[in-house]
């Protein structure tokens, strides 16, 4: 059976129930996983899908907007830097210890050189005590340089989203999270 460029795995059967992550139990309300061939042509469609997912689960348009931005930046980075023929993006709405959690997770393979470069940048972004200040500094530093952006990952953190990453072998996993207490539009 052939697979299309984008395989959408909708929330069922993982939509509801307990899953374990980082040693904690959390109740997942909505879950979506996309596996796709890295392609610039898919980036906007994928980020819109993430935005629609967020609107399905919660009524806060600001959070949806920030996750749309984050999904776009991460999907675009994967199309630029992935060394493999397939990448994945997951978005999940869950509840944990009385708080709601929206999580965006991407996975891709990359070359050792790229992993080294990105891990230095990600480490700095993750550790920043004032992400907006770091973002402003990067803007100032790259302003005179032609054709260099390198702002996407710092932008995600500067716009108020939590950020983490891990590298196992040649696989890079990026995690973007937002915790909130507003009621969900779907029941857990």
């Amino acid at each position: 059976m052939s697979r299309s460029a984008t395989d959408v795995e909708p929330s069922a059967p993982m939509a509801r129930g307990d899953i374990t992550c980082r040693g904690d139990q959390r109740n997942v309300s909505l879950f979506l996983r996309l596996a796709f061939c890295p392609s610039t042509a898919l980036v906007s469609a994928i980020s819109r899908l993430v935005s629609d997912f967020c609107r399905q689960g919660l009524s806060d348009l600001d959070i949806s907007s920030r996750f749309h931005m984050a999904a776009h930046e991460l999907a675009e980075n994967m199309t630029k830097y992935s060394s493999g023929s397939a990448v994945s993006l997951e978005v999940e709405l869950s509840e944990q210890a009385g708080e709601h959690l929206l999580t965006l997770r991407t996975r891709n393979h990359a070359s050792p050189e790229r992993l080294l470069e990105v891990s230095q940048r990600l480490s700095e972004i993750r550790a920043a005590s004032d992400p907006a200040k770091l973002y402003d500094r990067l803007i100032e530093e790259t302003a005179p340089l032609q054709g260099v952006s390198g702002l996407g990952l710092a932008r995600i953190r500067a716009e108020g989203l939590d950020f983490d990453y891990s590298i196992h072998g040649d696989e890079l996993t990026l995690i973007v999270e937002e915790r909130f207490s507003q009621p969900l539009r779907v029941q857990s």
Partner: protein, 149 residues
Amino acid sequence: MARLRAASYILNSMLNLPEFKTESFSLVFGTAGGVPSVKLSGNGDAEAVSAVDRALTQVHQKLLAAASTSVIVDLGDLYFMNSSCLKAFVAWIYKVRTTGNPYRIRLQLNPRQRWQRRGLEPLQRLAPAVVFLDEIKSKDSGPSDVEGT
């Protein structure tokens, strides 16, 4: 009289710049209340980057040649801008900031597009004397943030 001739020159040369239109993005030049303007609409993603970069470079050259004092950038119908398009704005603003006779860049924002203020405030921080963020007061038409952002 000389000032009027200069203003006329700016407007004519801006209107002569080529538009850029695709299925999901457009960039057109014009005037708003006698001030040169650039209007971006749609989705500012990877496919729009080179057009945005090229257009802003051309606008900068025209405005400098005409000793213009300001330009309006209408973002009312722009529902997203990726970091590479933002970088094109960063490069433009940096050039204006470091030129001897900087002009003002007035970014017109649509409050219904929630990403805009959040995403564009860093540009103002880069050059507070150059970049001004103006919210469009009654923007009923155009894409709402239902488009995603």
